[in-house]
Amino acid sequence: MPEPEKNVTVQDIEAIARKYPAEKRFALAIMQDVQREFSYLPQPVFEVIHRHIGTPVAHLYALATFYKALSLKPKGQNVIKLCDGTACHMRGASNLSKGIRAALDIEPGESSADGLFSLELVNCVGSCALAPVMVINETYYGKVTMESLPAIIAEHRRASCEDTAASCETEVVA
């Protein structure tokens, strides 16, 4: 389990929750903000939101498990979305998934030990002509091959390492 970037405290979450009026309809907005800030929803989030807007903890938890954009485990700094829609599947998305596993030792839904990457399988990103497609953060990569994959990952690893020197001691050679 990768450590969350920051040590999340109840006070941090409360500060986010307090930006919103104490009304039930803001539950999702608060969770999105927390997700953006900490890259996941730490357990105390539900209790904090419950105290703020009154919605039961179980219902907030249900909401969080419904949306793919919210995650209960820390997501990596770089989120790899590998398309496994029909076109990408036919053009070898499963192979790429194996390639990512080999490079980062993660399965879909997991985050790498250094907290730099997490992998998600998605169904069609609407760029079938470029199949197989992989999206890292906001960048789209089309016609990805096993040969081009390591360089793409390395590029993001380098970018992250320049940002946060700390978490990058283990340069994995893919």
């Binding site: 357990q43 539900f46 919605t55 039961p56 903890v57 179980a58 219902h59 938890y61 249900a62 498990t65 419904f66």
Partner: protein, 249 residues
């Protein structure tokens, strides 16, 4: 405004806006239901209560438990179309709850088709995900359970599948569940539900079990009164005796 409608050929009177299921039941018609519960508002999700409505050439399938009658209609509760669709609905519900004997029985009774090409959920699943339990718990004001995850992973659970701090062990969820899906274990002293064990309180006088300590305390906070320690019968007797003391000379 009163309306006359025909159900399987019988003329029935009802108020405009009444739900069709209610009207049919009042007039002695049996329509199978799973997710309809008299004390919880319309769920309308199991779809086994469907009926056919005919007007002239046109016919329409409606969900009787949530269909408000607003004009004179002709209702068929057991037409060929209804039978076929109800059978299919039950067959699909059985894929959700393959271990439910209730659903299995209904499948048999209503001639549900086998659907060998569809994979069923886990062998021991009995939940049809109707959400009645969640509603009951929410309506009580506890809200300890909810439908978590989605798609084929959806299930009713407490947060993180952990014993819930808000659960009071009242077992209302288990009581409303149409398929008996929620496991409650109880002996003379304790009740276990949703992974947590609660101590039971007994009536001070006759020893009959009242509820869990937490449920009794919760009921007291709702009434803004001290927790009850007598069962309804003993409470009545006590009140009666008090009156005898005052007036009965």
């Amino acid at each position: 405004m009163s309306l006359n409608i025909s159900i399987d050929g019988k003329t029935c009177t009802c108020e405009s806006g009444e739900f069709l299921l209610e009207v049919a039941r009042r007039n002695g018609f049996y329509i199978p239901t799973l997710c309809a519960h008299e004390s919880l508002s319309e769920q309308g999700c199991c779809r086994v209560c469907i009926v056919e409505i005919v007007s002239g050439e046109r016919s329409q399938i409606v969900v009787s438990c949530v269909y408000p009658v607003e004009r004179a209609i002709e209702v068929l509760t057991n037409s060929e179309k209804v039978k076929a669709l109800r059978g299919m609905t039950l067959a699909l519900l059985q894929k959700l709850a393959p271990a439910s004997s209730l659903i299995a029985g209904m499948c048999k009774a209503y001639g549900a088709p086998e659907l060998p090409r569809l994979e069923a959920r886990a062998d021991d699943d009995t939940c049809i995900l109707c959400g009645l339990c969640v509603k009951a718990c929410a309506q009580l004001g506890t809200g300890a359970i909810a439908a978590v995850n989605r798609g084929i992973e959806k299930k009713i659970a407490t947060p993180y599948d952990q014993p819930s701090a808000t659960c009071i062990g009242c077992a209302s969820c288990a009581q409303v569940c149409p398929t008996g899906s929620i496991v409650v274990k109880q002996d003379a002293q304790e009740r276990s539900i949703w992974g947590r064990t609660f101590t039971l309180l007994a009536c001070d006088r006759c020893g009959v079990i009242l509820d869990t300590t937490e449920a009794v305390a919760y009921a007291a906070t709702l009434r803004d009164a001290p927790p009850e320690h007598l069962c309804p019968d003993c409470r009545k007797q006590q009140v009666a005796q008090a009156f005898v003391g005052v007036y009965g000379k």
